[in-house]
């Protein structure tokens, strides 16, 4: 199939449809309205379900029900709406129910600004709900990657029976790019062993979201912790660009990483040995990529985010174990760091003036 020129939000929606999403429920919030709008037009034609929920809470709860009977399900939102979905994401995790949740992020806290930002890193990666669980978090840096990661997110959700978050930002959601859309998936995992869809010819099942006794619950939590650990071994995705001989590292995810890559190229052209580390999975986080950096060679890291304060920097610091200084470059409120800003800051750091 040829390429299509398509807007990020619509591309995400179409990718979900092609991944076999048969149930979408959501609530309008900027900057992701094109996702429910696209779904409302497309899903009924395919005999699938679109519901505009009365709230974010109801929408994510509808996903919970549809997932419990075996559907591939998705919802999407942004900052304030994600906060309302937090209850349902936690319940999905507790009940081992697969779901894909897209956050086209804006600037918070609270109402904040509807303009693009990356202020939901902590929320998505560290605690998208109460009770101490993890979900995989994918961070696309362009529309094609948003398509690919959304498409794959459904498989990871089903594999782990756990929610997966796709953390885009308002720029990726609104940007139009030329992309290849994947084929419609035709083979899906067999869920007949666990769904609660009527007990004909078998024993009744309960979708469990708690346990009768403490021992069972603790054992369950241990098994989920093992799953999170296995992600760190098997599922980390990261782009390392010109890192091998680099004396300075730029890092960031999503839109910021894309801008930082331009800065790397320009600084290289000027003879400065700069590389880029771009986490694609924010959970599991690619700590190893930072740990491997040689402190004898790498003089500093500049972390670029559309967030004040910068948030991912805490994981970068964990990765380098304080052996390499990490400097922040954050913009917020809808402002995007320009590659010139990154270049200027990198040069200041190189001259020993970083962080001043």
């Amino acid at each position: 199939m040829g390429k299509q020129f398509i807007k990020g939000c619509e591309a995400i929606a179409e990718a979900a449809i092609r991944a076999g999403c048969t149930f979408y429920a959501g609530y309008p919030i900027t900057p992701q309205n094109e996702i429910p709008e696209y779904m409302s037009a497309r899903m009924p034609d395919l005999g699938r379900t679109f519901i505009q929920g009365e709230s974010e809470i109801a929408s994510i709860s509808m996903l919970y029900g549809a997932s419990a009977v075996g559907a591939r399900v998705m919802t999407s939102s942004s900052g304030p709406g994600m906060a309302l979905k937090a209850e349902g994401i936690s319940y999905l995790a507790s009940a081992d129910l697969p779901a894909v949740i897209v956050n086209v992020s804006r600037s918070g806290p609270g109402m904040g600004k509807i303009s693009p930002a990356q202020t939901d890193y902590w929320f998505s990666v560290k605690a998208s709900g109460h009770g101490g669980y993890k979900t995989m978090v994918f961070a696309p840096a362009n529309v094609q990657e948003a398509v690919n990661l959304t498409y794959e997110a459904f498989d990871y959700a089903d594999r782990d029976r756990n929610p997966v978050i796709v953390l885009a930002d308002g720029i990726i959601g609104a940007m139009m790019e030329s992309v290849s859309l994947p084929e419609f998936k035709t083979v899906f995992p067999d869920k007949s062993g666990w769904v609660a869809d009527g007990c004909e010819a078998r024993e009744p099942r309960i979708i469990k979201n708690s346990a009768v006794d403490n021992e069972t619950w603790e054992k369950y939590k241990i098994s989920r912790a093992g799953m999170y650990e296995s992600w760190r071994k098997n599922d980390v995705r990261v782009e390392e660009y010109l890192v091998e001989d680099a004396e300075f590292i730029l890092t960031g995810y999503g839109t910021c990483a894309r801008i930082a890559k331009t800065a790397v190229r320009e600084l290289r052209a000027e003879g400065m040995k700069v590389g880029l580390i771009r986490p694609i999975t924010l959970q599991p986080f690619p700590y190893e990529s930072y740990r491997r950096l040689d402190p004898a060679r790498v003089r500093a890291i500049l972390d670029v985010e559309m967030s004040i304060p910068v948030q991912m920097i805490e994981d970068v610091q964990l990765g380098v174990c304080n052996k390499i200084p990490v400097f922040p470059l954050g913009r917020d409120g809808g402002f995007t760091p320009l590659h010139q800003d990154i270049i200027t800051e990198m040069k200041r750091i190189s001259a020993g003036q970083g962080g001043e």
Partner: protein, 245 residues
């Protein structure tokens, strides 16, 4: 020997986890009998509310999806839209349905989802220990209205059946009480009517059941039954508010 009475197949053969005199057991038996008589058990999915309702988790002999507080109607919406061939019902108490889940029940009813909701109203939060419910009667004491519910600061008890009956979409809305054999027989018939509405694809059906809580009302079981008759029924009139032909 002829068998004239047996526990419904839709209930497991376990002992009731409820307090002495509690009417949850009666409500659950009525639901189970209706499911049995319509042959629905194996195609049923019960969406469980929270609070004392959730103690029924070990009780129902069918597939079950437990929901977060108040969200059962939204969860049931997801279940039914994906499996319209299945029989889907929610079982919720008053704190669940009429406080934290008011939005979910109103909008589910208003969409006319082809599911059934069994709403058990005992005018208190049972499991959390007897706090004021949205259905607590004026003057009724609770752990959060120690001087009695004062409408000046807490408003008036919500009449959920009447509220839902104002909507266009619902097919069946009724209220019954579980305090006497005569009322229980009427409730049994009403629950079966509600279930038939779903089986016949007529849309959303809602049955409110006036119940008790001897433990948190601090009453002997018989006094609690008398209180339903004396205090609850006058404020919450019994009957069918909406019946789609």
């Amino acid at each position: 020997m002829q068998k004239i009475y047996a526990k419904p197949e839709s209930l497991n053969k376990v002992s009731s986890p409820y307090c002495p005199g509690c009417l949850h057991g009666v409500a659950q038996k009525l639901m189970a009998q209706a499911l049995d008589s319509l042959g629905l058990r194996e195609k049923s999915i019960i969406v469980m509310g929270v609070g004392c309702v959730s103690l029924g988790r070990t009780y129902f002999n069918m597939d079950m999806v437990p929901a977060a507080h108040g969200r059962a109607p939204a969860v049931a919406t997801g279940v039914k839209r994906i499996r319209p061939d299945r029989f889907v019902f929610t079982y919720q108490g008053d704190g669940d349905l009429a406080a934290i889940g008011t939005s979910e029940i109103i909008h589910c009813a208003n969409r006319g989802e082809n599911i059934t909701t069994l709403f058990i109203n005992n005018a208190t939060y049972g499991m959390t220990g007897g706090q004021m419910a949205p259905t607590t009667l004026v003057g009724q004491t609770s752990t959060t209205t120690p001087a009695g519910r004062d409408p000046k600061t807490t408003g008036y008890p919500l009449k959920m059946a009447e509220i839902i009956a104002t909507l266009e979409a619902p097919a069946y809305v009724a209220r019954f009480a579980l305090n006497s054999p005569a009322n229980i027989l009427k409730a049994a018939k009403g629950i079966e009517t509600a279930f038939r509405m779903q089986v016949e694809n007529k849309g959303f059906s809602f049955v409110e059941l006036l119940s008790n809580c001897p433990t948190n009302w601090h009453m002997k079981p018989l006094d609690a039954l008398a209180t339903i008759e004396k205090n609850m029924i006058p404020y919450y009139p019994l009957g069918e508010f909406k019946v789609r032909k």
